[in-house]
């Protein structure tokens, strides 16, 4: 306990350094700014803004990225409350009740409850990350290649089970992602794999390009199909930003439950914020005394998913910082950012660079505090931004994305690759394939292959090693169980119900 306090104190010392504080603020602001734009989700926001952190010192850069991440998430919920367009998957459920509240003239209450819920969740999750970081790092020492492989497989199965739509199609997406991640030089021999002698492909397909294509460009192409009328911005002036006493009482339970659910789901690899908000909403509706109010402006329907997704966003740092495994696409971008600054994510970060580890954790809390301070007064600014017609917004987003991708490696080829993945993403949407499992698999692919190869080599080619080592066997059993469960018709029906809502 004293250790925890001492560590947190170190963290706050780092984070409260005026430079880092301003990076955190700047990140939160820019993140919200981009996150507010309709059709731009967290992944695309972080990918787009990645280059602007390149010139900073490592600690500052990561603090800023973390700020961008929370800001983007918060911006997304603002968009879904005020316009009926979810900025990203995590805010889809916030749309349901948040937008209804806004139409009933209670946009202010919805926005502030979202902010308050997120802040509370952020506080709890920050403590949780700090408390679990240490013990889990110890756990990492028990992990050999076989266990790492099994854990990542479990993560992918989670992503499959939790993705919406057909299980079979999600599995297909996972395999596509794994296959795409194989492009590039082989880790051991350096042989070019499926590179077709294109020099730019020898390092593999860049993750930021894939993310930007699938989540940025594809989304824009798809939005162009929609007519302008489908966007309705709440035109009434937002008054009464502070929620009433009754609002707070009504939503306190929802915030607490959302926080718990979100924290748990965030830790699981493959889970993350999207699932957390869906789960929290469904749970809240199920235990509510009057579920018919959901979808008609129930404040619990805003409080629960917003708390859950923020908690999950934060606890998803746990697998990254302790095991070095990115549990979702945003964390994968973080890995990219860390690598650029010469930091290898994993258990050694905590021991070798304590100021980075604890500084980042402390800045999470500060970031959340800033969001609640800057966002409520600045809501007017975001609304103005939302009034900018989409016909002017989308070219700006495209241009910004192009420059962003290009500046990561100064490579025009990267821009072309992102464009191709934009088309692929459009095609996937038309065929009802989910891009999220593909992206996670794409991220985990090289790590999985490396650990699989190593495990097989150590076991002298004996594949039973995954079943004889207890931790790995346990993880694989859970994975198999989940997959069977998801494939059972009865559960599948219920799962579809959840996503239909």
């Amino acid at each position: 306990m004293t250790d925890l306090l001492a560590n947190l104190a170190l963290g706050f010392q780092v984070a409260a350094n005026p430079y880092n504080l301003s990076f955190c603020l700047l990140g939160a602001l820019v993140g919200t700014l981009v996150g507010v734009l309709p059709g731009i989700g967290t992944v695309a926001t972080v990918a787009m803004l990645l280059p602007i952190t390149f010139g900073l010192p490592p600690v500052g850069a990561l603090i800023m990225l973390a700020g961008i991440y929370y800001g983007a998430q918060y911006g997304g919920s603002t968009t879904s409350i005020l316009v009926n367009i979810p900025g990203e998957a995590t805010s889809v459920v916030t749309c349901l009740d948040g937008h209804q509240m806004a139409r009933q003239g209670r946009a202010g209450a919805a926005l502030s409850i979202a902010a308050i819920g997120s802040f509370f969740a952020g506080c709890v999750a920050t403590v949780l990350v700090a408390a679990l970081g240490g013990p889990l790092t110890g756990l990492a020492l028990l992990f050999g290649p076989a266990e790492y492989f099994a854990l990542m497989l479990l993560g992918l199965i989670f992503a499959v089970v939790l993705a919406k739509g057909s299980v079979l199609k999600s599995v297909a997406m996972v395999l596509t992602g794994l296959l795409l991640s194989m492009v590039g030089s082989d880790l051991e021999t350096g042989a070019g794999r499926m590179t077709f002698d294109i020099a730019e492909l020898s390092d593999g397909i860049g993750f930021a390009n894939v993310a930007m294509g699938l989540f940025g460009f594809a989304e824009i192409i798809r939005n162009l199909e929609m007519s302008a009328e489908s966007r309705e911005i709440v035109n009434t002036k937002i008054s009464g930003l502070m929620p009433t006493r009754q609002d707070l009482i009504d939503s306190s339970g929802a915030i607490a439950r959302g926080t718990i659910l979100g924290s748990l789901l965030g830790i699981l690899p493959g889970g993350g914020a999207v699932v957390a908000s869906f789960a929290a909403y469904t749970f809240e509706k199920r235990i509510s005394k009057n579920p018919e109010r959901f979808g008609r402006g129930a404040i619990q329907g805003v409080a629960a998913p917003e708390s859950a997704n923020n908690a999950a966003a934060q606890t998803s740092f746990i697998p990254l910082l302790t095991l070095g495994i990115p549990p979702n696409a945003v964390m994968a971008l973080m890995v990219g950012a860390m690598t650029i600054h010469g930091i290898v994510p994993g258990p050694q970060v905590m021991t070798k660079q304590p100021e980075l580890f604890w500084g980042m954790i402390a800045s999470m809390w500060l970031g959340n505090l800033m969001l609640i301070i800057i966002n409520l007064p600045l809501v007017g600014v975001w609304v103005t931004l939302l009034r900018v017609p989409y016909r002017l917004l989308f070219p700006s987003i495209i241009v910004f994305c192009c420059i962003g991708i290009y500046s990561i490696n100064n490579s025009p080829t990267d821009v072309v690759i992102a464009a191709i993945f934009g088309l692929v993403g459009y095609w996937l949407v038309k065929h009802d394939f989910e891009p999220a499992p593909l992206v996670l698999a794409f991220v985990l692919g090289p790590l999985m292959e490396e650990n699989l190869r190593r495990a097989m080599l150590i076991a002298r080619g004996d594949a039973t090693v995954f079943a004889t080592r207890p931790i790995s066997a346990g993880l694989l059993l859970v994975a198999a169980f989940l997959l069977v469960l998801a494939a059972l018709p009865m559960i599948r029906k219920r799962r579809d119900e959840v996503f239909v809502e």
């Binding site: 280059p51 602007i52 390149f54 010139g55 057909s166 079979l168 199609k169 599995v171 297909a172 395999l175 596509t176 794994l178 296959l179 194989m182 082989d186 021999t189 042989a191 794999r193 499926m194 077709f196 460009f217 824009i220 192409i221 162009l224 199909e225 007519s227 302008a228 017609p389 989409y390 016909r391 002017l392 989308f394 070219p395 700006s396 495209i398 241009v399 192009c402 420059i403 290009y406 500046s407 100064n410 025009p412 080829t413 821009v415 072309v416 992102a418 464009a419 088309l423 459009y426 095609w427 038309k430 065929h431 009802d432 394939f433 292959e449 699989l452 190869r453 080599l457 080619g461 004996d462």
Partner: protein
């Protein structure tokens, strides 16, 4: 991966009705991708003693993908599903052209290698941004000239200010 879309008009050749075209053609496209990957990684050495070769994992994943893709296609054959949505052409075409123009103009490109006798010199950030903005805005059905030109100039200025002056990233601004 565009094979699935191209092959959709050929649906009539199948004797029995495709019940879920989304899944059916989607699955076929994945099989095509898998076969392509198997061919592309064909020359890589595979399993060697008990060590994996560079080709082992790609072929393993590709084979699994072919199997799962086949199952998806089969399910599309026998289970009713929604039709494939309409693919818009104008929007994607302009957006894509804009992105490709940006990629070509920023550092310059010699199109001779793909058989087009045209060489674009390095035009720099300002022109690339402006052109990409103008081309992509034409993909919108509600485009207005004056407004678009003003927005393009403003956005170009903003990007130059942010990336070059504020962030100090190395960009060539004007044509050499």
């Amino acid at each position: 991966m565009a094979e699935g879309t191209k092959s959709s008009p050929e649906g009539g050749r199948f004797q029995f009705k495709v019940r879920g075209p989304q899944d059916f053609y989607g699955g076929l496209a994945l099989i095509a991708l898998a076969i392509f990957a198997i061919i592309a990684s064909g020359e890589l050495p595979g399993q060697h003693g008990f060590a994996f070769g560079p080709g082992t994992a790609p072929r393993m994943f590709a084979t699994l993908l072919a199997v799962v893709g086949g199952l998806v296609a089969l399910s599309g054959l026998f289970i009713d599903g929604p039709p494939i949505g309409h693919f818009a052409l104008k929007g994607p075409a302009y957006v894509l052209t804009a992105i490709l123009l940006f990629a070509g103009m920023i550092r310059g490109i010699d199109l001779q290698m793909i058989g087009i006798p045209l060489k674009i010199p390095a035009l720099g950030l300002v022109l690339s941004t402006f052109v990409a903005f103008m081309v992509s805005i034409m993909g919108s059905t509600e485009m207005r000239w004056v407004e678009s030109l003003i927005a393009a100039v403003a956005m170009t200025a903003f990007c130059v200010g942010l990336f070059v002056y504020l962030l100090g990233l190395p960009f060539q601004l004007w044509p050499l």
